[in-house]
């Protein structure tokens, strides 16, 4: 166990060091939510005002969902990184050492989560001038949930990356599944006005629960039922994702 933690830390620090050296990826990951914040939120603002709401209310509704979206999209494409590393021979070079195989995966996932935290924190800070309000305790829980989503999506992405070993195959898979997941989670527009069948799909989408819980947290309702339900659902899925990703990893990376 000590060796595993040490190896994970070694891989984690290396990956983080390389990430810092290529800040372009952090920026690219930030750009998308930033676009949503600057180009989509005003649209929502207008709708909200027609319905008699305020600008602050619009952001209070939209930003929590956007954080869930960022947690998904920031990590779903992690698999591309592992394909590049496989191609460069880096993974193989590390595999010939006695390093723990799973540490090679966990160190990378850890890096993804830290990057994600930086992006999400920036988004929250940037949204405050627009009227977003949040308090410390719920925000901490929010970041716990973001970590669970990140671990889940990164593990699935790594698993698929190792299975396909090709960017050309991974990209369409990711695009096919990520957008329906996003749309049916009620992140961009509320599902309350959706037809019944669409709401039914939303109900089985774990990210719907995440988005709902996230909104409750930003209302300061950290003890809302949906918060604990979402944490339980995402926690369970994250464990499954990690187990699958790790198995895929040790299978192809003996």
């Amino acid at each position: 166990m000590r060796k595993f933690l040490r190896d994970t830390w070694l891989v984690f620090t290396r990956q983080l060091q390389l990430q810092v050296r290529q800040p372009v990826w952090v920026v690219v990951g930030l750009l998308q939510p930033l676009f949503f914040l600057l180009l989509f939120a005003p649209l929502l603002e207008g709708m909200m005002k027609q319905a008699g709401g305020t600008r602050a209310e619009a952001y209070q509704w939209f930003i929590p969902g956007l954080l869930v979206q960022m947690a998904m999209f920031g990590t779903l494409f992690a698999g591309f990184g592992i394909i590049a590393e496989l191609r460069a021979g880096v993974i193989e070079r590390m595999r010939v050492t006695p390093v723990s195989r799973v540490a090679l995966l966990f160190g990378r996932t850890g890096r993804d989560i830290v990057t994600l935290f930086v992006q999400c924190l920036l988004l929250v800070v940037l949204a405050i001038p627009f009227g977003l309000e949040v308090s410390g305790g719920p925000l901490l829980l929010m970041f716990g949930m973001i970590a669970l989503i990140g671990v889940l999506c990164a593990s699935v992405s790594y698993g698929l990356g190792l299975l396909t070993r090709s960017e050309d195959a991974l990209a369409p898979i990711m695009n096919t599944f990520s957008f329906p997941l996003l749309l049916t989670a009620g992140i961009l527009l509320p599902l309350s006005n959706a037809p019944g069948w669409l709401q039914a799909i939303g109900d089985v989408n774990p990210f719907t629960w995440a988005a709902d819980a996230s909104r409750e947290l930003f209302q300061g309702h950290w003890d809302a039922t949906v918060v604990w339900q979402a944490l339980a659902i995402l926690g369970g899925l994250a464990v499954l994702g990690v187990v699958w990703g790790a198995r895929e990893f040790s299978r192809s990376v003996r």
């Binding site: 070694l10 460069a88 880096v90 993974i91």
Partner: protein, 325 residues
């Protein structure tokens, strides 16, 4: 013995309906301590697959192997500690520097931070990487990159190091440097197991070698032994298209011990070349077959390869890499 294998086997599932591909079909090898052992064969012969099995990167389907004194099947962790492995493509990340990679690799082998730092420094000096060790790898030349790859494989002072085609893609000068490097590894006390498809390389560098073809070892010995197996001389005839007729004509001659056609040339294995040439010329002349060149030489490793496999290694297109994983 540094490596001892018996009946090592590996097959891969083919894509679609092609069934399975037997990449390695029962390899018996023994490599002594301190040897530079060459593993020679055309692309797709199973060299890399064998190497990857010995380096614990692939699980064999069958057979046994002791590598650096540990059992490959039951103690892969021990094997990993004792060997170094340098893959064909290397494994330096473009945004890292050689020093960072070396320190990390040393730490992955279990060294403390301080140990790793001093080991990296020692290796940088030993492989003369000082001038670029702190630059990012994307700025390295092909030869520099290769030296870093090898340094990475040796950072933990392994007793045995595997080099998979270390000179492929290098210019002649870098190749010569690499040969010196390999010899130095042995001077440092390592056993070197090297694959190559260059015959001159195997001849110049290796103490002993094995020739692999279609997943099997077809010959094993010192370069001199192997060449001696093909006794006599080799006469190479350059023909303009009449290869088949000439071959039929000469096949029956008493002084011809073997015959192989390679594209527009015919290679004859004869006991005494000087005596055979006039007879060959007379025979061909009688039938009106025109020659444009005659060459007489001592057998080379290429002749050994040709005799063992029926193909010439030189004619292998170097670009076709098999589906080795």
């Amino acid at each position: 013995m540094m490596i001892e294998t018996r009946g090592l086997r590996k097959s891969f599932r083919g894509r679609g309906k092609t069934g399975t591909v037997d990449a390695v079909r029962g390899v018996d090898l023994s490599v002594g301590e301190g040897e530079i052992f060459g593993f020679l064969g055309p692309n797709g012969a199973g060299k890399t697959t064998t190497l990857r099995m010995l380096a614990t990167l692939l699980q064999p389907d069958g057979g046994e192997a002791m590598v650096a004194g540990a059992d490959l099947r039951t103690q892969p962790g021990e094997v990993r500690k004792r060997i170094g492995y340098v893959s064909q493509g290397g494994g330096v990340w473009d945004d890292s520097t050689a020093r960072e990679e070396l320190e990390l690799q040393a730490r992955l082998y279990g060294m403390t931070k301080a140990e790793a730092r001093s080991r990296a420094e020692a290796v940088i000096r030993a492989f003369q990487l000082e001038s670029f060790a702190d630059r990012r790898a994307r700025t390295y030349s092909g030869g520099q990159r290769r030296r870093v790859d090898i340094a990475l494989g040796c950072v933990h002072r392994p007793r045995l190091v595997f080099l998979d085609e270390p000179t492929t893609g290098l210019d002649p000068q870098s190749r010569a440097h690499m040969w010196d490097e390999v010899r130095r590894l042995r001077e440092m006390g390592m056993t070197v197991f090297i694959t190559t498809h260059y015959l001159d390389e195997a001849d110049a560098l290796c103490d002993r070698l094995a020739i692999m073809d279609h997943g099997r070892i077809v010959a094993e010995g010192t370069p001199a032994q192997l060449k001696r197996e093909i006794a006599g001389d080799v006469v190479t005839l350059g023909l303009n298209g009449a290869g088949t007729t000439a071959r039929k004509l000469l096949e029956g001659e008493p002084y011809v011990r073997g015959i192989e056609s390679v594209e527009n040339t015919l290679r004859l294995y004869v006991e005494v070349g000087a005596a055979a040439i006039p007879q060959i010329l007379r025979r061909l002349d009688d039938q009106g077959i025109a020659l444009h060149s005659v060459e007489l030489h001592r057998p080379s490793l290429d002749d050994v390869f040709l005799a063992k496999t029926g193909r010439s290694l030189r004619d292998e297109p170097a670009a076709t890499k098999g589906g080795n994983r």
